[in-house]
């Protein structure tokens, strides 16, 4: 484990814990962008350069902006006065601690994990493109179809409805 990996892992973990503990949603979105940048840095250290840059483009670029827009459109930029936690938050916290304990214990004690570190593979974008257009062409087409359907569905769901159903309380 190199010092660079240690530093990026610490930054990622602290940013992830910050996302879920802050009250103001805009701050949460900022910490989320830092978390995704840290994950992209870990990908870069694991010789997955293409995935690292895709992570920055998709998550830090697109999804963070999408979430900030949703925060603005739902007018939830200010921190609420009431509690930000649900009614049964203690049970949820206990379950998540148990999940971390089980996953961490099995990662540390498993005998099935490979112990020898293989040499870093040479992965070029050309190889990824050839695999996408050759062996993985069917999953690529299915993902394209799913993305198109999801985008059309998102637009229809968020479409403005007519004024009668939009504001039931107002007399017109």
């Amino acid at each position: 484990m190199s010092p660079a990996f240690f530093i990026t892992a610490i930054v990622t973990i602290l940013a992830a814990a910050t996302v879920m503990s802050l009250r103001n949603l805009v701050h949460c979105a900022l910490a989320m962008a830092i978390t995704f940048s840290g994950i992209a840095a870990i990908y870069l250290q694991l010789n997955a350069e293409f995935v690292g840059f895709a992570e920055i483009l998709v998550y830090v670029g697109a999804i963070a902006i999408l979430i900030v827009f949703a925060i603005l459109l739902t007018r939830s930029g200010e921190a609420p006065e009431k509690s930000v936690l649900t009614a049964g938050w203690a049970a949820g916290l206990v379950v998540s601690v148990l999940v971390f304990a089980v996953l961490g214990w099995s990662a540390l004690n498993s005998t099935a994990l490979p112990t020898t570190v293989t040499a870093a593979p040479k992965i070029t974008v050309k190889k990824i493109g050839e695999a996408l257009m050759g062996k993985f062409i069917l999953p690529l087409e299915i993902v394209a179809l799913v993305l198109t359907a999801a985008m059309i569905g998102a637009v229809i769901i968020a479409l403005k409805e007519d004024a009668k159903t939009e504001n039931p309380g107002r007399k017109s």
Binding site: M1, A16, A48, Y59
Partner: protein, 103 residues
């Protein structure tokens, strides 16, 4: 601790934090952020097992992560559209107040 175990520990923590956020926070957008964190933890596991597994020259891990990122993008778009639609109807994005279907 081998590098693979370090990666698995980081991803286990990310998954636990994302799960805790998804079940304990009451704002709908934060629940979506928690789900994104859990998806990222799974992607980190894919990359770690691809890099330290016996056959890193096969591109399966990388391609699986690329497809899962596309699906995560679709999920985020539909989820945020639902949050906006619910806000327009009920003027709230607090999940404790949206309980029409509760038995």
């Amino acid at each position: 601790m081998t590098p693979l175990q370090a990666c698995l520990l980081v991803s286990a923590f990310l998954f636990a934090v994302g799960f805790a956020g998804a079940v304990t926070r009451r704002h709908a957008i934060l629940v979506l952020i928690g789900i994104e964190l859990m998806l990222n933890a799974a992607n980190l596991n894919f990359i770690a097992f691809w890099r330290f597994g016996p056959h890193p020259e096969a591109l399966t891990g990388i391609l699986f992560v690329l497809f899962s990122m596309a699906l995560a993008g679709a999920e985020a778009a539909v989820g945020l559209a639902l949050v906006i639609a619910i806000y327009r109807h009920k003027k709230t994005s607090n999940l404790d107040e949206v309980k029409e279907l509760q038995g």
